[in-house]
Subunit: 262 residues, 2 copies
Amino acid sequence: MKTNKLALTIIKIGGNIIDDPISLAKVLNDFSKIEGPKLLVHGGGKEASRIAEKLGLKPEMIDGRRITDNAMLDVVVMTYAGLLNKKITAQLIALQNLAIGLSGVDGNLILSKKKDNIVTDFGFVGDVISVNSDLLFKLIEQNMVPVFCAITHDGEGQLLNTNADTIASELAISLSKYYNVKLIYCFEKQGVLANTEDENSVILNINRSDYKDLLEKGAIHSGMIPKLDNCFYALSKGVQNIIIGHHSVITKQDSIYTTISL
Amino acid sequence: MKTNKLALTIIKIGGNIIDDPISLAKVLNDFSKIEGPKLLVHGGGKEASRIAEKLGLKPEMIDGRRITDNAMLDVVVMTYAGLLNKKITAQLIALQNLAIGLSGVDGNLILSKKKDNIVTDFGFVGDVISVNSDLLFKLIEQNMVPVFCAITHDGEGQLLNTNADTIASELAISLSKYYNVKLIYCFEKQGVLANTEDENSVILNINRSDYKDLLEKGAIHSGMIPKLDNCFYALSKGVQNIIIGHHSVITKQDSIYTTISL
């Protein structure tokens, strides 16, 4: 659906980009050149686990999600909202973007509730309830470039570790009230692969029916399933355009990537 | 000088308050009840040193300033801009203040330059150059309550550890363009003491001439000197009202404290 709304680009960068300073510098340089309203969401990479181990904690992941007890929450908040968020923000400002590093706590921008832990106790992990999109819109309208880490809060003083893909899709949904939102999930591969062993098997377009077929064939691996679920949910809630691809898609419009559609 | 400007209250809380969860909760509760535009600046307390030691680093202070090499800068950024800033912000939001946690990096709000290290090499420590007061004013006008940690940047991607008292006075100076600024430095004592051994020797008012006399008598101890220098500098640059006192001054208007005047 075409409307008269302004375009907004949301880029989510994953852990493998964060962990490689050369890739990160390249992505930030490319991101800084995107014209018009934009927003960056970053994951955490392996830094939090490295710091946790040095502090004598034992990082534990189940189904790609971090078990976050009180001590691990402190490490995650320090690493994501402190170290990574401020370094990325400083680099973007050096690239002449008026970046503002934010967590979901700041300005009550992303309210969550502690995940119901029926099967596994993930600890202080949040499910997003709402986005303060009016305030976020005002910041963006003042030419600021929000840079989000994946920390949220429950409104009662408790910080919560939250999935960065979900943060990106929830921000995209809430801002689609004001903008035609293009959401790009960047990672180390060129897109969703039909065969995870074959880097050249990028699927150029996936709609819901394709997704169902791929799931039945067992062609989609576990880490990609929640990402694609997020994508279809975001499209159903008004996000105009979603891409999954290598970070080179930010600048190279002719590169190969996966477009998700309903 | 009385003007028609709105009043703005800036509270700076020091390390001893940060280190004591009960004092901190009380201060934040009191702060949350201040009416009208306001802003909080927090120091770091001993948390950064504790984390640094756990990570195998050796914290080193000279004249109350932290020697900040690359590894220590990471710890300071994690602790101040991550852990402490987000915990304080989440607690203020739970108290119904629209708090937004900020460092000087965010929105390019506080630009610094690396301190000239003629005598001692302090490392990545910043001297404030400028405050983006127009942007800060817009945030405050949108009913946000900025919560600043003492991390700034040099505009070229380098983060810098910066003195929190100086951050508070520089913010006060820059915002005095828009507001009648009241700046309150809160710490564990009731005010500036004539005799550091006697808690009842609070000096109720110090002007420049008194300060000179006290310095000559050796009555002002080392940690208080840069704080008072900051105060006189801020007053000379347009800040209307400066108080040094115990955090109970935030609510108890009849308590004893030190007023600084020119």
